[in-house]
Symmetry: D4
Subunit: 233 residues, 8 copies
């Protein structure tokens, strides 16, 4: 932020890391948000906001509300027109219960903002194992799987034992008593008896999408690289 309060966005991050600039809205004031929006509009940049609650969105000036695509469940807002989504989804977002859907939404909207389609497979918690088994082929079709679960997070281990793709766990703050803040699900992801599960922070659907994008970029690069080799060959 400059002395007069204008934030300095890292507009070149895309070039450096291949990931788009996003704004964590929760702790920002309306003037800060407007300054960011004006800066983005002036540069003709698309922008993703996470953790923007309905009330916070409602506080924005009407002109900006009209230009933003806000989604209440996932608490995300998008400025500008994201790329069209391909027909095929190569990322699956698998969720244990209804209460996990806001986090699922954050991940799906982040991917969509980057032009990537995700296949949502929800309500497949392990207490009713058949629900997960029924959808297994759909899940196995994905190159990267984002698994979203709260409570005891048993989904992470069961899922990772069944598939070969990378599994990115997103523990959620869903549960009561010892599980209320998401630490049980987080620790279950980290201590999983199934090999190769990785985790992001609690409720961090955005981060999981970013990690999936990092992986997907490598996959696309391999494909492209092969094409180039083929062309030059």
């Amino acid at each position: 932020m400059s002395r007069d309060g204008t934030p300095r966005m890292d507009w070149d991050r895309g070039a450096r890391t291949g990931l788009p600039e996003a704004v964590y809205a929760e702790v920002k004031t309306v003037p800060q948000l407007v300054a960011i929006l004006e800066d983005a509009a002036a540069r003709d940049k698309a922008l993703l906001f996470t953790r923007m609650e309905v009330a916070q969105f409602a506080d924005l000036p009407a002109e900006w509300r009209a230009r933003l695509d806000h989604d209440a469940l996932s608490r995300t807002a998008i400025l500008g027109t994201p790329p069209a989504l391909p027909d095929v989804a190569d990322i699956a977002v698998v969720a244990a219960g209804l209460a996990d859907m806001p986090v699922v939404g954050e991940a799906v909207r982040t991917l969509a903002f980057c032009g990537v389609r995700a296949n949502v497979i929800a309500d497949v918690g392990v207490a009713g194992l058949w629900r997960l088994m029924e959808r297994l082929e759909d899940i196995r079709a994905a190159r990267v799987v984002i698994a979203v679960a709260g409570m005891e997070g048993a989904l992470f281990s069961v899922l990772a034992g069944l598939i070969a793709a990378p599994v990115i766990a997103v523990p959620t703050s869903v549960g009561r008593g010892v599980a209320a803040d998401g630490h049980v699900a987080l620790h279950s992801a980290l201590a999983s008896c199934a090999p190769g599960v990785v985790s992001v922070n609690i409720d961090n659907g955005f981060g999981a999408a970013q990690a999936a994008l990092r992986i997907r970029t490598q996959i696309e690069a391999a494909r492209l690289c092969r094409d180039l080799e083929g062309t030059s060959g």
Copy 2:
């Protein structure tokens, strides 16, 4: 303990709660253990010791070592001859991995001390789900299931979603990093998405066996009571 150091055992607990007296050996000195043994022998009581490591057993006088049945893996020792076991096991002890076997052993030996046979179904962690599924009929044959698991404890939820019998979780201090002390497995049992899982303390195979015995006593009483009703009817 009386002023001169003789422990006062609660020999009447059996009459009051239906559960046998047992001695947690870990923090006791050799003189204390010998005093307890002499007291039990004088009363002609059988006695179960838990958490008696090999080294501690080796420190006992030879005469007592000869009279005790000590098991290194489960760290239990038994004074006196337990009742013969029935042919049929109505309690199943289900364990996730090899490292859980000491706790499995503590539970099985406690049950055996009380004349109850347990069916051990081990190495069925959910990372290889087929191993659990293969044994499901055996597990469903039990009236009470003791589930033993460390790491992320996903076994508790998967198992409880598959069977109707009471599930007593025994979280174990098996795992590394965040799971090293068993709290992740404990919290997974408590926060399970499957309904009706109950838990005992970390590594407490003895406590799980006691809880199973409490339940089994009620089942036996119902059966007996029905017989008596039938007789009187």
Copy 3:
């Protein structure tokens, strides 16, 4: 949840585990709750909601409010007519203090939803030990005892030392300072010096009832099995 947001209930759980389907209302939106209600009504299923606060109930459409039996203290709501309760209670719910009554209510209503009567023995905290002693015969008449206590949870150990039946501890988030979130009572249940206490999660009256139902099913099965043996004999 399907793509359009309709939750997929696990209607066959009853057949699989003997336990009814229930809905944790706290984190669900009104549209989600209505979708669940419509699904249940279409299938003519009874349904239990837990953690439905007065305000959340008030937000439901009037038609559904009229069809639900909502209880403010226990924050439960029931759709459909539960089975008639028998005259005799074979489960006791024992509570330490007034502040534990919401959790007591959740357990009692869950049992009633399944056609099981519970005998409530409240306000018997151990600071006035005579209150517990006065009711001991009533407690000993039960086949399963659910013990509900917050603060230091000393009730669990004292009670389990006095009776032979299974004791399911429900620690509550009642207390101040170190006890505010229920962890002290939970840990007291787990670390109890009395043998065979099992615990569910903090404030989880629903889970305790489910565990009691699992046990009771085994008892009933033994009785029934004996009858069948008698019949066939």
Copy 4:
């Protein structure tokens, strides 16, 4: 400690607080301990050492070992001759189990060092409530009660609900799993449902004795003061 490593004891604390100087031996080197002993001997002061393990005592020079009264169970050592104990004990030390006896010993030896006799009432854990009830009159005879318990520490609440005297809880690091380090017992003392329980640190028998001495001094002062008033009246 002066520049050359000689510790500076607070020899005047007795005059200021009425409590004797004591040395926590656990973290001190042999040279430090010898320097302290020499300083005390030169001033003809009696001295109490706490947490002096057998191995540490064995490392001291023979001349000092001969002059110290070391007790292995309580890990205390006394230099000099404490005052003779009176016939009557006005402080009771009540303990839940055998494993608590080292902490009981530390409290009793600290009191004895100050010329105060304590009545030890051990092995009265609440899992067998009759053991406590049998000794209730002995406990009620005391002016101050030190209660020592590990695991879930239910003794503190039960005891404080039965007597009128001050109850000083000493939680001990006795237990396994969640209770291994004494925090459950400590928190149970602090969150007790019985009014007026106070607590010292885990395993701190010395501190409990000091607190009891502070209280006893006020009682003695009241008695003495009354005598003086009587004399002058």
Copy 5:
């Protein structure tokens, strides 16, 4: 609580422990509070309520509000006329800062309810040591000292090093960051380098007063006993 919701007060506690019955109001409903008030009025008993916020008091029926002496700062209310206070205070309540005054008030009002006067010595935190030193003679005049402090709780150790009377620490939930919930002050009391400090739960002014009353009763008994001996001598 009886089946119809009437709480069962422990009206005989006074005879058993010498301490009055009190009601923790925070988690109670208006009907529960009114039932307790009616019960007390019917028995002509005085009653102390703790943790009764202004809003909760305002919700009571006017007739009861008129009969209660409610104090907003300490969140206490008294039914009935407490005994007149003596001119002399033999208990001191020493507090570190302004933010500790609600807890100070709870202790002082509890003592007053039992007819005991306390001398409040406030705003003597150790960051300005002279403030404490100035009041040292006043503090030393007390037979029991209740010390109230939040943040790092250094007051407990400094105070206990300066006086001979029993020191009951009341850690408060005053502070920010690591100290926000009072655990730092609590742990400072327990880990104090000054001998004989005892602690009650965080913010528990009521409990500290109860502990002081337990001690004071012994002091009064000694005085009285001496008189009786003198009379009989």
Copy 6:
């Protein structure tokens, strides 16, 4: 483990998840390890052991020691001949300090066991930022980066801000005081301000390698798939 103690390996995991079977040696007895070795040898399977300390390796029978390739620093042992490594490394393992090298070794040896070469870039902690900058091109050449760091784990954020490839953080239990057990580094990975960092459990070099293999498999599949398309095109 079967009733007679023979472990049941999940030999088909490779087919299911593409990952090899490995054995966590730390908590296993010599007979258990020998049984596993014999089983593997009988099936002519290669096998990786993790957390096998020098002392544990030394306890194995000489014949097995001769057949195992044990590495003291990484505490890994390999049975059988791993595939030859390719000349090019497409995974980089970046480490902050010397003390992280055992965990680096576990990851590198796991990858090598699967025929994958890793490029180790060590001692590039951010306190001397130039050390990291000097190696940036090497790091950017990798398709997947495993970052290993203890203490405050700042390396994870700095690194992820500089590169586009997936970053798998392995927090290590390197540090003192608040950082001793690795939780600070773990939490830094999870709370990273750089987008898309994922984490495995503390010290879990094996798990990080497995996650990298999951990702690499997808990359290889894309390349292969492209070839097939090209062939068929």
Copy 7:
């Protein structure tokens, strides 16, 4: 606070420690604040209030609101006219993100209240390392650096590895999941791999400013002392 509720300010602290008196407003009532303001006005003292939210400021009487300079972002208010600021800033306040600005403000306003100018260098989090590098010369110009960061707090280590001046870390409660309360940033400061980082409490911009003032006073004294030596030489 005197008996009638008037706080006793430590007006002489300035003379003793060289630091001004400040008032932590958060937990104070309006009457307490007014009493403090009146006391300060009567003595003609300037006064700094921290943690005074907009709502609390709005509750003050209009006359006092008019005399106070309140700043909403930093939640500080100043009574009286602070000294004019010098043109040159010798303290730098470096912040990672926008969300840290309230804490930055608290530090800057505290310094200004004491007549010290600070140079704010914001939005230089390490995820975009070039932002920090661009401002390095500005930062190196300072004699003392206050570093403000939440989330994983990697800024502290990177910064301290780049400059020679003292670095005072202020961890902030900015972040989600494991980082929500600021403990990750705090622990990162304490466990920093860069030598000589010191930390204050979470969100404690005031404390960091005080520490910087303590250091600055020594620097000024050295300069002054040198002048005096020169004069006398």
Copy 8:
């Protein structure tokens, strides 16, 4: 570390931050230490080792043991000849108790390695306040004060309230029960009621010395700068 295991020291850190290179020995192997020593000797660099226990030092080759100045209490070793110390100490190291002396030693030896003399003022814990008061003038003579304390760490607040110089707290892992690992002392430093206390990690005498050196460098620079101004003036 290069591929062949040679560590890469950051020999230029001195130029960049003004602080010397040091080696944390605890987790390093003998070959690693020898490689570092050879590297330093080849460059003719002096080197400080911290956390080198007696046993680790004894494992080094005799030639290196002869060239190192190892101090058992502080667990430090120095290679090369440090600069001569000035007669005057401008840094004070103030410690609460004997058990804190190893940490005091680490700080003092680190300062000495850099040619800075420290004045040690030990055994001045606040339980005997007069001991601190007696030494107050000595402490006030220092420009920077390092305060070392374990247990409840009350020394930090008392000291900082009495002096104007910067106070760097070093909490130590001295204490039992809740204080055993140093977190209570650490949190007391952070939550201090005295303004401007800063803290380093638990037991981190080295870090405190580094922070003091950073401050001292600024003071020296001011003095030197003034001289230069004077010269040029």
